[in-house]
């Protein structure tokens, strides 16, 4: 079943077209890789879908409903969650309180209920020491907390924006397994922006490739990684 789709989604900033007529869709239970060179428009694309910025043209449909221009917090409530490339833990709040926020506002749970749900979620992701200040977390814990915060919204569609950046190989393995498990158990549609190709190969069922704001290729990782257009986008003309 299609959870999310866009049609001709376009965003231009004062004439600079950052996202150009992208049409795509995501199925329930699918993990989709979103790759492309720096500046290709991957994060802008996710910003459009999560409502952080509004499109210049085009259509976004979530579970058959037009959500193109509804505000970001409303999309979060309906079930679209995401993490951020630059993570900002909420200072003055503990680890568990950070995770409670989505539960309180996206789902409208009481503080007590939100705490119970956040505890279960942290437990599921292997987070301990829940009353710690966020400044005392390791980088892996911060990444897990960021995923837990997004999952606290109880989403149906989840976007992970470079969630593996800064992790070592073992930590990546750990996190890949977690993402696969939560996606499977919750029947999530997951969109993953990632620069580490090993992660894309391991984690995703399908990949879309963006370059200069346009969708230039789509398919399984093996197909896409052999596509001459994609190789050119990454390495330039005359590349190896």
């Amino acid at each position: 079943m299609i959870k999310l789709k866009t049609e001709n989604l376009t965003k231009s900033f004062l004439g600079l077209v950052a996202v150009n007529k992208i049409s795509f869709s995501m199925e329930e239970g699918e993990i989709l890789g979103i790759i492309g060179p720096n500046g290709a428009g991957k994060t802008t694309f996710i910003n459009l879908i999560s409502g952080i910025i509004m499109p210049t043209e085009g259509l976004i449909e979530y579970k058959g409903m037009d959500i193109t221009y509804i505000p970001a917090h409303e999309r979060a409530r309906r079930g679209i969650a995401r993490t951020y490339q630059l993570i900002h833990p909420l200072e003055n709040l503990t680890l568990i309180e950070n995770v409670m926020v989505g539960s309180i506002f996206a789902k409208g749970h009481s503080l007590k209920e939100a705490r119970n749900k956040a505890e279960a979620l942290c437990h599921e992701l292997g987070l301990t020491g829940l009353d710690r200040d966020t400044s005392r977390l390791t980088i892996l814990e911060v990444k897990k907390m960021e995923i837990a915060r997004a999952l606290a919204n109880e989403p149906e569609v989840l976007f992970l924006d470079e969630v593996m950046a800064g992790l070592n190989a073992d930590e990546m393995k750990d996190l890949i397994a977690i993402v696969q498990r939560v996606a499977l158990e919750r029947h999530l549609a997951v969109g993953v922006i990632e620069h580490v190709m090993g992660v894309i190969r391991e984690l995703t069922h399908r990949v879309i490739v963006l370059e200069a704001g346009e969708l230039i290729a789509e398919g399984k990782y093996e197909e896409v990684s052999n596509n001459p257009r994609v190789i050119e986008a990454y390495l330039g003309r005359g590349g190896v």
Binding site: A72, L93, V101
Partner: protein
């Protein structure tokens, strides 16, 4: 000083505040009233600050409250006690309306506009001569509330402080705490957690403004007169701000201790160097911002941490 110690200290101040009228004379009561008034304003300023919005509009909403209270008594014959409630409601409604315009602004733009609003209110009241009495102000002919009884006036201000304290605890213990903290940290990720930023900012702005208006009403009823220069005085913005900064922001206890320290210090300085005490205030603000941006709370925490053998 750990949490328990600061609780005990707070309880001591609470007992002192409630028993003061039974043994203190008129002068200490007057000083205590002043401190409690500024303390309440400092708490309301901090409550909005918890969302990251720095308001310089305290004096503006305080003044609106003061004038709506005194004019409702003089022009509409409202009972004095009811005019204080009316002041809160009126300031809240004003904040609700202007909130739609100014809560889209952020950082220094928000601050400057709140500063300008206070000035606009003052100028309007200055010039509506027939209705507001103009620059000379207005006097309540039948006199001060409670016939000017010092004890009763003290209880009235204490009640105003209690309202501010209750609201502040409500902000700390409820969903509002999570909403404002998330907004202060990062508005974009707050939205992604389902937080309707404008709605929570409007709530915080209206509640704090209504309390500032209430305090303006209490102030004007306990002196029996109002002039634009007296009730829109920059003191009502700057002193609470300095108190909250000194004590430590984002909490209820910070403004309380800041108000007691600065309140007592300024009373003493007034006697030693009349007018010069404001210079000392300015110096304190500069020192606090430079060396302990989170106020005395941070300093106290740091020392107690190192005393425990942990690093700060």
């Amino acid at each position: 000083m750990n949490r328990n110690a600061s609780r005990i200290l707070a309880a001591l101040f609470g007992v002192l505040a409630v028993t003061l009228p039974f043994f203190a004379g008129d002068y200490p009561l007057q000083v205590a009233r002043n401190i409690m008034m500024y303390m309440a304003l400092a708490i309301t300023w901090d409550m909005l600050l918890r969302s990251g919005q720095i308001s310089f509009g305290i004096a503006g909403l305080f003044g609106i409250g003061a004038y709506s209270a005194i004019l409702s008594v003089i022009r509409a014959g409202m009972p004095a006690w009811f005019s204080i409630l009316f002041a809160a409601i009126f300031s809240g409604v004003v904040a609700f309306v202007i909130g739609f315009l100014i809560l889209r602004l952020r950082a220094m733009y928000f601050s400057i506009v709140t500063l300008a609003l206070g000035e606009i209110f003052r100028i309007i009241i200055h010039n509506l001569h027939d209705f507001t009495g103009g620059p000379e102000g207005v006097v309540i002919q039948k006199g001060v509330i409670f016939g000017g009884n010092a004890n009763s006036l003290y209880w009235l201000v204490l009640a105003g402080l209690a309202v501010a304290l209750a609201a502040s605890f409500w902000f700390e213990k409820s969903k509002i705490h999570f909403a404002l903290t998330a907004i202060r940290n990062n508005e974009i990720s707050a939205q992604s957690s389902g937080i309707d930023i404008f709605r929570w900012l409007l709530l915080a702005f209206v509640v704090t403004s209504a309390i500032q208006g209430l305090l303006g009403g209490i102030f004007v009823q306990s002196y029996g007169f109002a002039t634009p220069d007296a009730v829109f005085s920059a003191d009502f913005t700057l002193l609470p701000l300095a108190m909250a900064l000194l004590g430590g922001v984002y909490s209820t206890t910070g403004p309380i201790f800041g108000a007691i320290l600065l309140g007592l210090a300024s009373e003493w300085l007034k006697l030693k160097i009349p007018y010069g005490h404001l210079v000392v205030y300015g110096i304190i603000i500069v020192i606090v911002i430079l060396f302990m941006p989170q106020g005395l709370r941070q300093l106290v925490r740091r020392t107690s941490h190192s005393a425990d053998g942990r690093s700060a």
